[in-house]
Every structure is written in C-alpha cells, then in structure tokens.
Symmetry: C2
Subunit: 221 residues, 2 copies
DNA sequence: AATAATTTTTAGATTAACCTAAAAAATAAA
DNA sequence: TTTATTTTTTAGGTTAATCTAAAAATTATT
C-alpha cells in the first residue's frame, strides 16, 4: 500500500517515542514532535489505524502495529545509512547531517539501500553511535550507560549520544569529545554533579551534568 | 520562495520541452509529460506565472522565465549528478537509474550537491552522455549528430543517447553499444535506412533507423 | 467566411494534510 | 465526589493538486 512522506514521518515519530517508554503514546506527544496541532494528529492517527499501521483507540493513545514497526524501522535504517554516507563519503560533520538525512530517508528503492549499505561496508552504527537496523528490521540493542551514571575513577569509551541536535554535537566537538574517545572519570562534583574527565589521556576538563546525561559510554574498567 | 516537488516537476518538464523547440509550450504537451489532465496544467501554469517562474498567457502557451530556467537547470543538474553517483559509485546500470534520480533530484542542499560534484570528480556528462549544468546554470552545448544522419564509411564515437527509456538502453546494452564506443558505418540500406555498423572493430551488426535516430555521435573521420 | 474540429480554460468536486474553535472525555484537585 | 484542569476529539474550514464535464477560444477545413 502506498505511503506518503507525512505518514512515514508520523510512523517514525511514534516509533521514536515508543523507544523511551512501554506506555501508549499520547496525541500531544506526537503533535509536539511533528510540530503540528493535536487535532491534526487525531486525524492522522485515525487514518494510520485504518491502514493497519497503528493500534489506536480514541483517548487511549497509540502504538505501532507489527507492520507499522517494520515501516518505521526501514525509515530509521535509511536515515542512519544516509548519515554514514554523508559523514564518511561526503565529508560532512556529525552535526550537519540530520536535516539532509531527513530528506534522503524517504527515497524509495530497496536496491539502492542495499547497494548503499554494501558501499559503506555494512556499518553497524550511524555517526552518532545509534545502531542501524538490518533489512529485516532487527535493531541490535546496544545497552550503553549514560556518562552521568558512571562512578568516579572508572574508564570508559564514548559509544554514542542520546541527542542529535546540532548545538549539542557542536559543543561536544569543541570539547574534543568524539565517538570512540577514551574517558577517565577523575572526579564527580557533589555540588552540581558536574564531572572532571580526561579525554584520551589529555589534561582533565570540566563537563556539566547536562552534557554527561547525553553521552553514552561503554565501561572499560 | 518555497517550491513544491510538483512545481519542480512542472518546471523541469517545461524546460525539457523547450529544449526541442523555440516555440511556446502547449498545455497539452505539458499534460502528456506530466501524466495529468490539461485542466490541471492550466491551473498550475496560472500559479507558476504568479510566482514569476513562467511567462504564461491564456491560450498562448508557456515559457520559462529567467528565474524558472535557473530552477529547472538546478534540478537537471541534481538529477544528472545523482545518476553519475548511482552508476559510478553504486554500480547500477545506465538503464536503472532514471527513477531513483527522479526522487533524488528534489533533495534540497546546495552544500550536498557541491560535495557530491566534487566526490564524483566534477563530471561533465551523465551516464547517458547528457551534459551536466554547472552551479550557475550554464549548460555546455554539446553539438552531437544523430547516428541516422551520418554518411556511410564514416567513423564516429558514441557520445550520448537521445532517450533515457529503460527498454531502449537495455537494447543498446544487448547490442554492445555503450558510451565511448567507436562506430564504423559500413553501409546504409536504402530500403529502410537501417545501418550496418562495426562497433569497436568487431564484425558489423545490423541497426534499425529507429535506434540510429536515438544515438548521438561525434564524427571522427 | 462559415463551420467543424481541436485545444484550452472555467466551474465545481475530491482528497490529503493541515488549521481554529468548541465539545467531550479523562485526569487531577479541592 | 464534585469541581476544575488538561487532554483529546469533533465540527467546520483552508490550501495544493488533482479530477470530470461543460464552455470558450483557437485552429483547420470546407
């Protein structure tokens, strides 16, 4: 069945919200991410339900059906593969690719995506450390910790970010925090939970709790 | 001013029709290429004229304005650069790329197109030999001849095709006719203007006038 | 030049995606 | 457990892009 760009975006947004919770997703939450009004969302949810892509009961919120989930994951897959392309092949920075990938994710050609995947060397994650679903829509669960949850004197590796906003990513770049960086947590300040951390053996720098919350790490020792 | 995919496609179609003639373009001609009805075209032409992208007088046909021409050329540029990408980098055949490029041509990012151009080595033509407009919308005039117009005993080089349809391109591939091939015209048959031609020094093969009409060549000797 | 044929435009509807304002349902507070 | 607040839905409209059918303009033919 044919699907519009708008419908794809709704499914993607519902999918994103569903990752954070096991509850049903509220109309307002969708409206906020879609940058539209609740009334418009109600309209669309009714139509998505008719097409069998979501389960939706008036006033009870919405969830993706199995088919809707499959569609959403294929869009996420395309988005993330294109992001890898933009950074690895086209030389964009990791904070510049989101908008362009938002457009490219709607290009329809299974063959193209398969060739792109191959061309990129079957990457496992996008430039922000987010896992890339495979063609069957299996999304490997990467169970990383938030840097804000790690104890002092631990060593870890920066595996991803919990947020793709350009301002956040630019800040990380300024702080020399990039994917794969080795982080030694020197001290956690009780006052505001800010952290002194050494990046790749360099002199320790100061990081706010807010930043640490959005950094995903793997504990090494 | 914002432009929709549909508007972009109309401008592209009007541009294509304008290349073949210096006359104004008729509503019906646009309707046929856009695969829509004349009434819908009239509607759209009125709106394109309001936006200043075409000059249009009721019943008198339509032409692109300078600004419309610029937009059309930027779409053609994107389309052809993406075609080069699909063939050179992704390994598609020349008869497989049109549909996908029709989608990719609407991706909006000057930076991306610039980087893509660079990545591809600033190609001058697409995989069908069509010239790629530069970023200022200058389209190099490649004055090639149709194979059907060449005299017997001449040697020429296959520089492009006058048609991008998959069936035509697949036929050329079967006949081992690809861009750059050296063609020796052995004999032109009076009966139906079919041609005996030797491709890259191989034994001569038989080609219909219809095929020859759609092959563009440069005369070598 | 008058009539016929064709092309183009207008008129009026339809669909997807949105909107505002008001009504209804669900949730929270007194 | 009423009342107040918040959330969600309905009702009714708008816009872009399309359609069909009918009217108007242009072009071709006698």
């Amino acid at each position: 069945m044919a699907i519009s760009f708008t419908e794809e975006n709704y499914l993607k947004v519902i999918h994103r919200l569903s990752e954070a919770t096991s509850e049903d997703i509220s109309t307002n939450a969708v409206a906020e991410l879609m940058q539209t009004k609740a009334a418009s969302v109600t309209d669309m949810l009714r139509r998505l339900a008719e097409k069998g892509w979501v389960n939706y009961q008036k006033y009870q919120g919405v969830r993706l059906s199995a088919e809707g989930e499959k569609i959403a994951l294929s869009i996420v897959r395309k988005h993330r593969l294109w992001e890898v392309f933009l950074v690895d092949k086209m030389g964009f920075n990791w904070d510049e690719v989101h908008e362009i990938a938002e457009q490219l994710e709607h290009i329809e050609s299974d063959q193209l995506i398969h060739k792109l995947d191959e061309y990129l060397g079957f990457p496992k994650t996008d430039p922000h450390g987010d896992p890339i679903p495979n063609k069957d829509g299996i999304l490997p669960e990467l169970a990383y910790s938030h840097l804000s949850d790690i104890k002092a004197n631990k060593t870890c590796k920066l595996m991803g970010v919990a947020q793709d906003s350009a301002v956040f990513l630019q800040l990380l770049t300024k702080l020399h925090l990039s994917l794969g960086a080795k982080l030694d947590i020197q001290e956690i300040n009780e006052f505001d939970r800010s952290i002194f951390v050494s990046i790749n053996e360099a002199a320790p720098i100061f990081i706010s709790h807010e930043v640490a919350k959005n950094i995903l790490v793997k504990i090494l020792a």
